[in-house]
């Protein structure tokens, strides 16, 4: 089979992945370092008969994709730091109303306007907890251009399967870096399409009555069933309700439908874990530095291993606990103040063996940064 090889930025690989997954509608607003996603889609979407719109702000972009998703379309928006903050309320709406959609956040330094053109992984916890109220959400990331492509497709598949927003949490390095991308032929990667209700026209349709497996078949706006969608707690018809049993049932459902499927949602890669005394955990751009170091240190005979997380939320607690059980040290490498380190500490049996190795100056963690920490833990000094 002839392979289609491209040399592209991460942001463009995300576009390729979204188009491969069947993206129909994109709404966005210019913001560094995610803008290339909007630029490429403004060119590519109309060619396939899809729709692109640049909205008046980030909030409107998030709202527009929710509206479009309800008509049965696959939808996405892309943003960075400040724009991601603005989207939080509407993101919560998508969670409450169970609207499949993909939100890309190419992270930059923060808080506030921060460091727009430099790398950070400071939105890891915001991606999990950013909107108000109790909810579960899927957050994915990638460290190579090929993975950006594949994770983007998977984000669409998960959004459709679980009727949920999925956040693609990339970073400035991955978004802007260029690398090889091998585009698979159509059909090579399986796609999940919208699950539509089989309830016939004229029969009472319960848009918000989950099946036993938690899935909710949808009916498109403009289709045969007319129903209500709201951000209020709602009954099986989508009509607002404050009945305690309805509130309880819906909130449980919104959390369970993700948390109970964490093992099948979570993606990660592992390297050299078998006899590893020191295990690194990282994700995104910093995972590249760790992998470089681990490969080199293994050649030198050091017992180091690496877990690269591709799904950050739901957090793979059981997997991390199991894999790190025999390690002497667990070093979480991230470009923030330890946002995932705290979670790793909760996951492993002995939290005292977990260390944060970070960098928060807008530069990518270097190989020597990691090597120095490693030597200190090994008692060798830098």
């Amino acid at each position: 089979m002839k392979r289609n090889v491209k040399f592209v930025q991460g942001n463009e690989a995300c576009v390729e992945g979204a188009l491969y997954a069947g993206l129909d509608f994109f709404a966005g607003y210019p913001i560094t370092p995610s803008t290339e996603i909007a630029e490429h889609l403004s060119e590519r979407l109309p060619i396939k008969g899809g729709k692109f719109i640049q909205m008046e702000d980030e909030i409107a972009s998030m709202c527009a994709i929710i509206g479009a998703s309800l008509t049965g379309k696959k939808v996405m928006t892309a943003t960075s730091g400040p724009g991601f903050s603005l989207k939080q309320e509407a993101l919560g709406y998508a969670i409450m109303a169970e609207i499949p959609c993909v939100i890309v956040n190419v992270q930059r330094g923060g808080p506030s306007t921060g460091n727009p053109t430099h790398v950070s992984q400071g939105d890891v916890n915001q991606a999990r907890w950013g909107s108000h109220g109790d909810y579960a959400i899927v957050v994915m990331t990638a460290s190579t251009i090929q993975d950006v492509f594949e994770v983007t497709i998977r984000a669409f598949n998960i959004a459709e399967t679980y009727r949920t927003p999925v956040i693609l949490l990339f970073d400035e390095i991955i978004g802007h870096m260029r690398e090889k991308l091998i585009l698979p032929e159509p059909g090579e990667i399986p796609l999940v399409e919208r699950m539509r209700t089989s309830v016939k026209s004229g029969v009472d349709y319960h848009p918000y009555l989950p099946r036993e497996d938690g899935r909710l078949p949808m009916s498109d706006f403009g289709g045969k069933h007319r129903y209500n969608v709201t951000g209020l707690f709602h009954d099986m018809w989508g009509f607002p309700s404050t009945k305690p049993e309805i509130v309880h049932g819906l909130l449980r459902h919104l959390n369970d439908k993700i948390i109970n499927y964490a093992e099948s949602i979570c993606m990660y890669k592992e390297f050299e874990l078998e006899d590893a005394e020191i295990i690194f955990i990282s994700y995104g751009a910093s995972a590249r530095t760790v992998l470089h170091t681990v490969k080199n240190r293994r050649k030198a005979g050091e017992k180091v291993g690496f877990i690269e997380l591709q799904t950050l939320w739901p957090f793979p607690y059981n997997i991390i606990r199991r894999k790190c059980a025999n390690a002497r040290h667990v070093i979480v490498v991230e470009m923030n103040m330890g946002q995932l380190t705290r979670t790793v500490k909760n996951a492993v049996e002995d939290h005292r063996k977990v260390f944060l190795m970070n960098r928060i100056d807008g530069l990518l963690i270097t190989v020597s940064d990691i090597r120095n920490i490693l030597r200190m833990l090994q008692g060798k000094g830098v």
Partner: protein, 178 residues
């Protein structure tokens, strides 16, 4: 081939980033190599010292940034002054004779070429200055094949500009041969 770490530097508008992308593209698409390209973003890309990092290798590249380049290209004095100190000892430093006065205290093989002047004399359009530099680079280092760069230009540049770009590339190759 050994892993090649290159830093392209100059000022915004000289096309150093474009040239670096063309090189990396040629390596990946036509020479079956691995390559990673990244660049500095922000106001400096529109004036000031601009920088683009390219790593080319036969094996997979993980860490994408260049800490110590074994090849450094500097097309302005400001870029030369800023980046000459980071070059790997024994590396190659390529600069333009018109824009850069090279210093003596650089532990590298310094090669200065009249790229800009040649382009202006033979083509008369500064827009292909960067492609002339690329010609010098590939002739000196042989990191990618000449025909791979030509194919990349043909696939990525509007038809009407292909001829002057090719001409500039050959001007660079000839300069390096001399």
């Amino acid at each position: 081939m050994e892993r090649c770490r290159i830093v392209f530097s100059g000022s915004g508008g000289q096309g150093v980033i474009t040239a670096s992308i063309i090189l990396a593209h040629a390596a990946v698409i036509f020479d079956n190599l691995e390559a990673v390209q990244s660049q500095s973003y922000g106001p400096e890309a529109r004036g000031g010292a601009t920088r683009s990092d390219v790593i080319i290798s036969e094996s997979q590249i993980y860490f994408p940034k260049v800490i110590q380049p074994n090849i450094l290209i500097s097309l302005t004095q400001e870029a030369y002054n800023k980046f000459a100190p980071i070059i790997r000892p024994g590396g190659i430093l390529i600069s333009d004779r018109r824009f850069v006065t090279t210093g003596r205290y650089v532990d590298a093989v310094q090669k200065s070429f009249p790229m800009f002047e040649t382009v202006m004399a033979d083509i008369g359009n500064p827009i292909v200055f960067n492609i002339c530099m690329l010609g010098v680079l590939i002739e000196l280092t042989k990191i990618v094949r000449e025909e791979s760069v030509i194919k990349t230009l043909e696939n990525n540049i509007p038809k009407k500009f292909i001829d002057i770009n090719k001409k500039a590339l050959f001007l660079g190759i000839d300069l390096a041969k001399e």
